[in-house]
């Protein structure tokens, strides 16, 4: 029986695909120059991870170990093709913007990694949930990066949201300052590298703080002894 709260914690924080496993860096760096692009790719990745994890888990007992990887890749490619066709039908402009990165989801290591590392050893509900949460963890990092890069790079955020959420979302765009000069570095791939590094550093800082607090909570128990002994130890 899978522990769902642990799966959640793993996918979103402890074993986050983008910040800890550092998988799928290519789309992470290539697409996240605006919130709308990040969300588009994030949603597509969540869908593909969910579908591929579920299918892999369903056929896990009938797939010989020797040919499991080609089988997984076929499943993933099928899921990606479905996503592509769906996007072409319902969000064509988004499909155009994401371009090559959409079919490239097939080669995203997160997806094959979860298929081989988790889905093929676990039951359907657990595998499906893991796919959903891992995808969400990845999409969250995409969203954060996209937001930071769009804000730093162009001085505005949530531009062109109508590409995903329909015409009503066109007014979501929020402009920081009209005179903001374009900071091109943040929009170019080097900015993605730098910001990803900073995000990872931020996560490590938070982890260190948490570890320190936990250490401080568990430590005092030993110091309660009232005996004063200056030298030597009792053996």
């Amino acid at each position: 029986m899978a522990n769902y709260s642990e799966l959640t914690l793993n996918g979103l924080w402890k074993n986050n695909p983008a910040l800890v496993q550092l998988l799928g860096l290519c789309p992470l760096l290539g697409v996240t120059n605006s919130v709308v692009n990040s969300l588009g790719l994030g949603l597509a990745t969540i869908f593909v991870l969910f579908a591929s994890n579920s299918c892999v888990s369903m056929i896990r007992n009938v797939t010989p170990a020797e040919i499991r990887l080609p089988a997984f890749v076929m499943i993933i490619a099928a899921a990606v093709t479905c996503t592509e066709l769906l996007m072409q039908a319902y969000a064509f402009e988004m499909y155009e913007i994401l371009g090559i990165f959409l079919p490239l989801i097939t080669t995203n290591c997160v997806i094959l990694g979860r298929a081989d590392g988790f889905a093929c050893k676990n039951s359907l509900p657990a595998a499906a949930y893991d796919g959903l949460i891992m995808g969400l963890g990845f999409a969250l990092v995409l969203f954060l990066l996209g937001a930071a890069r769009e804000l730093i790079g162009t001085g505005a955020i949530f531009a062109n949201m109508d590409l995903i959420f329909g015409a009503g979302a066109a007014e979501w765009k929020w402009v920081l300052n009209k005179d903001y000069p374009q900071f091109l570095l943040a929009v170019l791939p080097p900015g993605a590298f730098i910001l990803t590094g900073l995000l990872i550093a931020l996560k490590n800082i938070i982890d260190n703080r948490i570890a320190k607090v936990q250490l401080a909570r568990s430590a005092p128990a030993e110091k309660t002894s009232k005996r004063v002994r200056v030298t030597g130890t009792i053996t």
Binding site: P181, Q182, F183, L184, L185, A186, P190, I194
Partner: protein, 347 residues
């Protein structure tokens, strides 16, 4: 009878990082003077603002890293980085350009890699390249030489005084936008040129001087003098700068072809325009990010010289010292690996 045993080397120098950096800072003065006389107070405002931001950022970064602030501020390395970036920026650069550049130079390029001595790239050049890529419009607007400002007689453009210059740098006073206050540099003209022979080019545009660009030749001469002073004080060896200048001149001589419209300017034009001398004597000599051995420094310098010429001649940017230095910084560990001097007695 003293019983303290000291191992060799017994000879030592009194040069500390702090005094070396101070000498480097002093050696930039002739070049800065030439730039200030030629282009107005803009270079000076750049440098002053750079130093203020650099020291503040350095203090902040050192404090965050829980290191002694006074000790690191006194090593003068942030000062030199600030001066070099201030010289490289177009005169009258606005304060936020300088702050962004200094942030990338001090925080990203130096302290994130572990502070002074651990930075694989020259901090000032990282700051400059970040700015050049991010703000192409502001970064390619170089002030016109003062004597041409009066010569062209453009109305409304007064030569800003020192106080006015600070006002412009802080953007309290609007930068004069009238043509004639800013002007294409000689290397810009060379880059855009596609129809004129070099001699015609020089006659058409007053920005060219006797050898390099107007003002630029004096600035380069100033940096050359500063560099020779540092060489005399044994701050660095001749290998890096000389091999860079020789490579650049050789390539320029090969592709000069007597000055047709396709050629890239004479060796003298290349040596005395743009950031050539600043790069040779102050930037590629950075002891941290360059190659270590003498042989390695020759390869390092030649590589930079070749890259400068290649990018100036066939690239998209008119000047390329920063790109060339950063590219060769990448290669420095590799050069060090293959030029490691053999220990005596080992073959």
């Amino acid at each position: 009878m003293p019983l303290v045993q000291i191992t060799s080397p017994h000879a030592h120098t009194s040069q500390s990082t702090s005094s070396v950096m101070m000498l480097v800072a002093i050696a930039t003065l002739p070049g800065i003077a030439a730039l200030t006389i030629g282009f107005g107070w803009g270079t000076l405002t750049n440098i002053v603002l750079s130093i203020i931001f650099a020291l503040a950022l350095e203090a902040g970064a050192v404090r965050l890293r829980k290191q002694p602030i006074g000790f690191y501020l006194r090593d003068n390395s942030a000062l030199v980085t600030a001066i070099l970036l201030g010289i490289a920026l177009p005169p009258y650069a606005s304060w936020w350009i300088i702050l962004t550049g200094m942030f990338f130079a001090i925080i990203i390029a130096k302290h994130l890699y572990g502070g002074l001595g651990y930075n694989p790239f020259n901090p000032a050049m990282v700051g400059y390249v970040v700015l050049l890529i991010s703000f192409p419009v502001e970064m390619t607007r170089w002030a016109a030489p003062l004597e041409l400002v009066s010569e062209l007689g453009t109305s409304g453009v007064s030569k800003p005084t020192l106080i006015e210059s600070f006002g412009i740098a802080l953007r309290l006073i609007e930068l004069p936008t009238i043509d004639g206050f800013t002007m294409a540099t000689p290397l810009d003209l060379l880059r855009q040129n596609d129809a004129l022979m070099i001699s015609d080019l020089k006659q058409t545009y007053p920005q060219f001087g006797a050898q390099g660009g107007l003002v630029w030749e004096w600035a380069n001469l100033g940096f050359l003098i500063g560099g020779l002073f540092l060489l005399y004080r044994k701050i660095y060896t001749w290998h890096g700068p000389v091999s860079m200048l020789v490579t650049l001149s050789l390539l320029a001589a090969i592709f000069y072809d007597g000055g047709s419209s396709n050629s890239g300017g004479s060796p003298m034009l290349h040596l005395f325009s743009g950031a050539t001398m600043l790069g040779a004597w102050f930037i590629l000599t950075d002891p941290v990010s360059s190659a270590v051995s003498n042989k390695g420094r020759i390869i390092f310098g030649s590589g930079i010289g070749a890259l400068i010429f290649i990018i100036r001649q066939w690239g998209n940017y008119p000047d390329s010292v920063a790109f060339a230095v950063l590219l060769m910084n990448f290669a420095a560990p590799l050069i060090d690996h293959y030029t490691q001097p053999k220990t005596y007695g080992h073959s």
